[in-house]
């Protein structure tokens, strides 16, 4: 929201002393004994609301939490000693398992692709529908919602909570507060505890965890996440969104006047005033200034001030206002998912236009389709076999007793399947070249190399050729590796610098 400092107008109604006031003076004025320049958090007591958006939020809360807690427990049968966990980030084994997909560290570009897709999807939804992520799916929102639900279980709704906080300490207050914090801590521990299952085999880690046999990283991660969950969802809540999260700042670049956002339809609501039952609605707006939208807001803002940085677009004020509108007999939707452009159009008496297709949405959608397509294409055409050829550079070649020239190569053959494979390694490009691996016999045909499942095997391969077969000092050559139904040809060179010198 744009703040215009306008000193041409006299200050409105504020009886505060004229002239600048320092932050310290304001803090003192509020009786802040800490005397600091530092602003204590103003507690927010969101009121429970019922309605369409609240229901969607409950459903998404259950779904997202279920995904989080259940995922590590899904089993997925893999052969041999390989982990049977569907989703597993195996740091020790340096593999990432996701159902039928299995990624190696050198394929980290798939993760990059996924992150770019996620960012672009976030950009696109923000440009179209505002901060849906913040309001419905962000873990900060989901866990805060869960924590407020627990808070309500122990301390009651908004008014009861405010009363309880203002009241002196009593047995009643003590057990309500301690019950709430204990439950919060349990949930926080469950959150941190579930996180570590993504990195180890869940059933065995669960057992090891309780008998003190789990890795130290598991205990530390669990402790850190327990603490952050408890602190961020219990104590800090909206402060995380306002002060810590960079996204509210970035979204300014995604949104425009055609983005759907939770909007107070000022064209319809103003001028606002309290309304007596049976009084006329002529010459006034539909807003009855009941503050229902303000008391339900988890961010503690007044949506009627327009779109603002704090708003997470959760739509709870929409539900609250609709409830009131039904009661006073006016149409729903005084606060609704709407666009700034539509509000402006209606206040000029024009018909609002909703434009979903705009240059920025097209760019985001195009970029999303491109990156998504590339990532999918990469995954679909991913070879179960990966071959790298490193030729020896020191020395580039060796001359043998009978005048033959030998080149050495290190072949790295990655078997990305879960079965042992036998790779057939053939060398072409030099007539009559003989190929040999350490300790094996010389052969002209392909060499068979067994590669363990899910492993890389590095093998030195020696290729020997007679000088007659080497018309050039630098012969283009190819290693062809066949395994697991895939074939990879890797080009290299056969060097024989001095082979012809003699």
């Amino acid at each position: 929201m744009t703040v215009v400092i306008d000193r041409t107008k006299p200050p409105e109604g504020d009886p505060a002393p004229k002239g600048p006031r320092s932050a310290a003076a304001r803090a003192r004025g509020k009786g802040d004994a800490g005397g600091g320049l530092y602003k204590p958090r103003t507690p927010i007591y969101p009121k429970l609301v019922q309605g369409r958006w609240r229901n969607i939020k409950w459903i998404l809360l259950v779904l997202t939490l279920a995904v989080y807690y259940v995922t590590p427990w899904i089993r997925w049968d893999r052969p041999g000693d390989l982990p049977d966990q569907a989703v597993l980030v195996d740091f020790a084994g340096r593999r990432f398992y996701f159902f039928f997909i299995q990624l190696w560290p050198q394929e980290v570009y798939f993760i990059t692709g996924l992150l770019v897709i996620a960012a672009l999807a976030l950009f696109l939804t923000s440009a179209l529908f505002g901060r849906l992520w913040c309001g419905y799916a962000c873990p900060q929102t989901v866990w805060t919602d869960l924590y407020i639900y627990i808070e309500r279980m122990f301390e009651g709704d908004r008014n009861a909570r405010m009363k309880l906080d203002a009241s002196p300490w009593s047995i009643n207050k003590a057990w309500r507060k301690s019950g709430k914090h204990a439950t919060w801590l349990a949930v926080a521990f469950g959150t941190g505890g579930a996180w570590i299952f993504y990195f180890h085999d869940a059933p065995s880690l669960l057992r090891d965890f309780w008998v003190g046999q789990a890795p130290m990283t598991a205990y530390v991660s669990c402790a850190i996440l327990t603490f952050t969950t408890y602190a961020l969802a219990g104590a800090m809540r909206e402060q995380v969104c306002i002060y810590m999260c960079p996204w509210p700042r970035i979204q300014g670049a995604m949104l425009d006047q055609h983005s759907l956002q939770v909007t107070y339809l000022s064209d319809r609501g103003e001028p606002r005033a309290p309304h007596k039952k049976g009084a006329s609605w002529e010459g006034r707006g539909d807003c009855i200034d009941c503050n229902a939208c303000v008391v339900v807001c988890p961010m503690g803002i007044d949506i009627r001030n327009g779109s603002q940085l704090e708003c997470i677009n959760c739509g709870l004020c929409v539900d609250a206002c609709d409830e009131i509108m039904v009661k006073v007999g006016r149409p729903k939707g005084l606060i609704a998912y709407d666009t700034d452009a539509a509000v402006a159009a209606r206040s000029c008496g024009e018909k609002p236009v909703y434009k979903l297709i705009r240059p920025r949405t097209l760019y985001y959608a195009g970029a999303l389709a491109l990156v998504g397509g590339l990532t999918l294409w990469g995954l679909a055409t991913r070879s179960p076999l990966d071959v790298h050829v490193l030729r020896d550079r020191n020395p580039t070649f060796v001359r043998m007793q009978d005048g033959d020239v030998r080149n050495s190569y290190t072949l790295k053959i990655a078997n990305r399947t879960f079965e042992p494979v036998t790779a057939q390694v053939a060398f072409s490009g030099v007539a009559g070249a003989q190929i040999k691996t350490p300790g094996a016999d010389v052969t002209q045909g392909p060499v068979a190399l067994s590669v363990e499942p899910n492993q890389v095997r590095a093998v030195r391969v020696f290729v020997t050729a007679s000088p007659e077969a080497l018309p050039q000092t630098n012969m283009p050559a190819t290693f062809t590796v066949q395994a697991a139904g895939a074939t990879q040809a890797v080009t290299t060179t056969f060097l024989s610098g001095a082979a012809n010198a003699r």
Binding site: P11, Y38, K39, N394, G439
Partner: protein, 288 residues
């Protein structure tokens, strides 16, 4: 010019600075932020007490946890030795031929061998084993001494002219420097060696050199010049020699007879390391 003023909308004072008409509100920091700051300070103090932290004149504060990176490395090396114990035992209990025949064990030996070679042998023989002038190339199939698996193992243990007991020993005389032959005779011999390695030479000089060769050289290098692995005498027919194959280099070697030294490694490496090294060198060499 800084001029503090109050923003009408929020009632908050500005910082007094202005950038292209943009002014900044002087809002207070949130209280939790301050807590985080003090928590960091507290953490730093606890860290100073627990861990090595402050430098002093004669050292540094050690910290009550007794942490030491050196001790940590020592512990990790100890663990490493334990982990390697199993593989080492397998190497110890197998013969060289068994190691080479078992793909698994061979892989292990090659890995150990490569690492040990890089640390100890590469100084002279080069990282890839290609050698240099005076240091043999270990990648070809040309060996001065026994190039079989057992022969390489033996050379590794006792060395060459190392002074160790049972060391491989032979001596190329310095025919010129020690005045065993005249300068002219050495010139003739040089021509003969050129012919042996299938190159152009002065046939008259070769004829003069033949009786000298039979008398002075054939006992080690053989009548046909094929060399002798039991004496470390190079094959004179292949022109792949330690000290070069040009006419001048051949003459220099006959004149001053250089004899290289390789250390004995038996006392420095344990049994399994020597075996692994032998397998590694043999595997990379071109046959035998």
């Amino acid at each position: 010019m800084s001029k503090r003023e109050t923003d009408e909308v929020t009632g908050v004072e500005t910082t007094g600075h202005e950038w292209d008409g943009i002014k900044e509100l002087d809002n207070p920091l949130p209280r939790w932020w301050l807590w985080v700051f003090w928590a960091c300070v507290a953490y730093a103090i606890v860290y100073w007490i627990l861990m090595p932290a402050w430098p002093g004149i004669n050292g540094y504060t050690k910290g009550v946890m007794g942490h030491s990176d050196r001790a940590q490395v020592a512990r990790e090396l100890e663990t490493l030795r334990e982990v390697r114990g199993e593989g080492a035992a397998r190497l110890t209990n197998a013969t060289l031929q068994e190691i080479e025949a078992d793909p698994d064990l061979q892989q292990y030996a090659l890995a150990v061998g490569q690492s040990v070679f890089g640390d100890n042998c590469a100084t002279c023989h080069g990282v890839g084993g290609a050698g240099a002038k005076g240091y043999p190339n270990l990648l070809d199939d040309i060996w001065l001494w026994d190039g079989t698996l057992d022969g390489i193992h033996q050379t590794l243990q006792v060395g060459i002219r190392s002074g160790a007991e049972g060391a491989r020993f032979s001596q190329m005389p310095a025919f010129g420097r020690d005045q065993l032959l005249t300068s002219a005779q050495i010139n003739d011999l040089t021509e003969l060696v050129m012919v042996l390695s299938r190159r152009e030479a002065d046939q008259e000089a070769v004829g003069r050199a033949r009786p000298i060769y039979a008398e002075q050289c054939a006992s080690c290098h053989g009548a046909a010049g094929l060399g002798d692995h039991t004496q470390g005498a190079p094959n004179l027919t292949d022109a792949e020699w330690l000290y070069g194959a040009s006419r001048e280099e051949i003459r220099t070697q006959i004149w001053s007879g250089r004899n290289g030294v390789m250390p004995a490694w038996a006392g420095r490496f344990d049994d399994e390391t020597l075996k692994a090294l032998a397998v590694y060198v043999h595997a990379n060499a071109g046959g035998r």
